[in-house]
């Protein structure tokens, strides 16, 4: 298995820059997700790692070895695409063993490896069936099997679950992660679906317009978004931003919105009077009559366990996730209280988060 490193990787198509001087390291055995909206450069980065696209500048290292200009088939990497193309006239066994056959491996060894792979994917009972009769999920498993059977140094996956419906996607996420835990292969996974990235990855890089906006563990990215873009991209509904004008200094523990003081984690950065945005996630808001910040209930969406209540405040609409047994009437006035340690503060002009002193480890649930 392998470590993948990209250094100052840059890719331009004519005057459009797809990837801007990116640096990333994917540790040996790590499940790494590249997350972002369409056009952010994630697929281009993946294709450069695979060797399907050559960078304009920069280097790609596989296990310390420079492979930047190696051909795709000399890289010992398996690529799993969004639309799994299987050979419809072949059995599951023939499909899985196909890459080995191409390598000229002995038939007995092919059989053994195909059977091992099928067992790993829990499709060994289907080995002699034709793939055209399989369900969508089993086809996906066969496609994965074809990638795994070669025992490559790394797997690259480009939205492999994109075509599946929501419920089945979550199931496949769990399966893919469990498979990763068994095989332990370095995996780079591209998706625009934050849930997939959150559910499976050890590390996530959130990309936007060719740049890596943030790189970290799923929990880090969720708890401490580095920018308003990341904060807005992760979470459903996304983080609320309450915009206000103010100045802050290191050591400050509160900000003033429209005259009401709101506690924030201890700041470690200064800003002169400018537009700031207080970031609060819907699940970190409670209704409290004692709270200084007030608003009018605009509407609510029932979700079973919880409901999303939209409240109009002087700083814009705020969505709160509260238990669904809480009675909320449209039009009534409510006080909003925030869980201080979970708040973020952003410079509204640049979108960057202001540093805070509270270390992630200081939280307690």
């Amino acid at each position: 298995m392998a470590e993948i490193r990209i250094e100052e990787l840059h890719k331009a198509f004519g005057d459009f820059t797809a990837v801007k001087r990116s640096n990333l390291t994917v540790g040996n055995g790590e499940f790494f997700a590249m997350l972002g909206p369409s056009g952010c450069g994630k697929t281009t980065t993946l294709r450069m790692i695979a060797g399907l696209e050559l960078p304009t500048s920069g280097r790609i290292l596989l296990d310390g070895e420079d492979v930047t200009f190696r051909r795709a088939r000399e890289r010992d990497i398996a690529f799993v695409f969004q639309l799994f193309a299987l050979y419809p006239h072949m059995t599951v066994r023939q499909n899985i063993a196909f890459p080995l056959k191409c390598q000229g491996m002995a038939a007995a060894e092919q059989r053994r490896r195909a059977a091992d792979t099928a067992r790993l994917l829990q499709i060994d009972h289907l080995l002699d069936q034709s793939v055209s009769r399989l369900s969508g999920g089993d086809r996906q498993r066969v496609a994965l099997g074809r990638a795994i059977v070669r025992e490559p140094k790394a797997f690259l996956m480009d939205e492999p679950l994109g075509a599946l419906d929501a419920e089945f996607r979550h199931l496949m996420c769990q399966e893919l992660r469990a498979l990763h835990d068994r095989v332990g292969a370095t995996t780079v996974y591209v998706t625009h679906d934050q849930l997939e990235a959150m559910a499976m990855a050890d590390k996530i890089a959130v990309m936007n317009q060719g740049l890596v906006e943030q790189y970290g563990t799923p929990q880090d990215i969720y708890d401490r978004p580095a920018s308003m873009f990341v904060a807005d991209f992760i979470g459903s509904p996304p983080m609320n931003f309450l915009r206000f004008n103010g100045a802050v200094a290191p050591g400050a523990t509160s900000v003033r919105l429209n005259g009401c003081a709101l506690a924030v984690p201890v700041l470690d950065e200064a800003r002169a009077e400018s537009e700031l945005a207080l970031g609060v996630r819907p699940e970190h808001i409670e209704f409290s009559d004692a709270a200084a910040l007030r608003g009018r209930v605009f509407g609510s969406e029932y979700l079973g366990t919880t409901q999303i209540v939209t409240v109009e405040t002087n700083h814009g609409r705020v969505k709160a996730r509260v238990p669904s047994d809480l009675a909320v009437r449209t039009g009534e006035t409510v006080g909003l209280s925030f869980r201080t340690p979970r708040l973020s503060l952003f410079d509204a002009a640049s979108g960057r988060a202001l540093r805070m002193r509270a270390a992630a480890g200081a939280f307690n649930g």
Binding site: P37, S38, D165, A166, E167, Q174, H192, D193, Q194, L195, M198, A199, P218, Q219, Y222, D223, F233, I234, G235, S236, P237, R281, P282, E283, E301, Y302, L303, G304, T305, R321, P323, F363, N364, G365
Partner: protein, 339 residues
């Protein structure tokens, strides 16, 4: 707008019974969502109401008129498909105006202009009216497709997974917009999806289909809180309801109970379990951003509960599980009440 009613409708395709004896009423001005997995009969229902299929038995009425034998064009319903099919070489304006320019309608050009402008504003695409359809993002194209249904002011709208080809962010946005538009227009809407969030957030009523039969019809809250069987119970709720054999847990269950259904809000975790409590072992904590799922092993069963993402639980930790007003099901999955 008008009421839609299907009465005793059955439809088979060869040996496959796609719909069996369906009775469904979509009241005037209501937003009904049909929910179910692939093959449950959702799309067939929609197509029968649109007139794209003929029922083997039963009747379809629209606005109190028997429409069973009417061709699709005479039914005055608008259909929005999953895949938006716009005329790529036309502008947004011409795409939206198309249904009004049909020779069967003969709407004067200034009335068309007025109506298209209104609908474009409703959908927030007015600034794009002169753009070519191909120069739009996916979300904008789907809005134009929906707009094409709205310009006609039909008796009812039929929509077949109109949001499923969009990415998550856009889907959330259009979900709210569609609901707002439906309320503003007082439109009758029959909407098909397999996405439970769409069903819960938009519907006034949900119809749950299983293998061609309507198993329950009610408000989202009724379906979620008071399901008739374990199948319906598993349709709504994230994480999915935990179904446990009754002898795996300590709970006072009414007689006839075979399975206990415990949603995350029915489960209270106890840090130091005492004798007589059900005990489960922590397997892993799955972080999903806004939610964290705690996976636990209870005897031979797995359960999933919503917890705080920062909880310090470790694999193998024992936790007590107390069930608070869970749901009970018999051996056939039917709901058992009382107790």
């Amino acid at each position: 707008m008008a009421e839609i009613r299907a009465h005793g409708v059955s439809k088979s395709f060869g040996p496959i019974a796609a719909l069996q004896d369906l009775d469904l009423t979509v009241e005037d001005g209501s937003f009904v969502v049909l929910l179910g997995p692939t093959g449950a009969g959702k799309t067939t229902t929609l197509r029968l109401i649109a007139g794209l299929e003929q029922p083997d038995r039963g009747t379809v009425s629209i606005g109190g008129q028997d429409a069973t034998a009417l061709p699709p064009a005479a039914r005055d319903v608008a259909f929005v498909f999953q895949q938006y099919s716009l005329y790529p070489h036309w502008t947004v304006f011409d795409n939206l105006a198309f249904p009004l320019r049909s020779p069967a309608r003969r709407v004067p050009e200034d009335a068309i202009r007025r109506r298209v402008q209104e609908v474009a504003e409703l959908l927030h695409i007015a600034p794009k009216l002169q753009n070519k359809a191909t120069r739009l993002s996916g979300g904008e194209m789907q809005r134009v497709a929906i707009g094409r249904a709205l310009v006609r002011q039909p008796s009812a709208y039929l929509m077949d997974e109109p949001l499923s080809s969009l990415d998550a962010k856009l889907r959330a946005e259009l979900r709210l917009e569609l609901k707002r538009i439906q309320q503003d227009l007082g439109a009758t809407m029959l909407y098909v999806t397999h996405d439970q969030i769409e069903a819960m957030t938009m519907a006034t009523h949900i119809g749950v289909l299983k293998e061609g039969r309507l198993v329950q019809f009610g408000t989202p809250r009724q379906i979620y809180e008071n399901p008739v069987d374990s199948y319906v119970a598993t349709r709504l709720g994230t994480p999915r309801i935990n179904l446990l054999p009754v002898d795996a847990v300590h709970v006072r269950a009414p007689s006839g109970t075979a399975m206990v259904g415990a949603r995350t809000e029915h489960i209270k975790l106890i840090e130091r379990p005492v004798n007589g409590t059900t005990v489960g072992l922590v397997q892993r904590l799955e972080h999903l951003g806004d939610q964290s799922h705690l996976h636990m092993q209870v005897a031979d069963n797995k359960i999933v509960i919503l917890v705080d993402g920062h909880s310090p639980l470790k694999q193998g930790d024992p936790l007590g599980i107390e069930l608070v007003q869970p749901l009970f099901f018999d051996a056939d999955g039917r709901r058992v009440k009382g107790g």
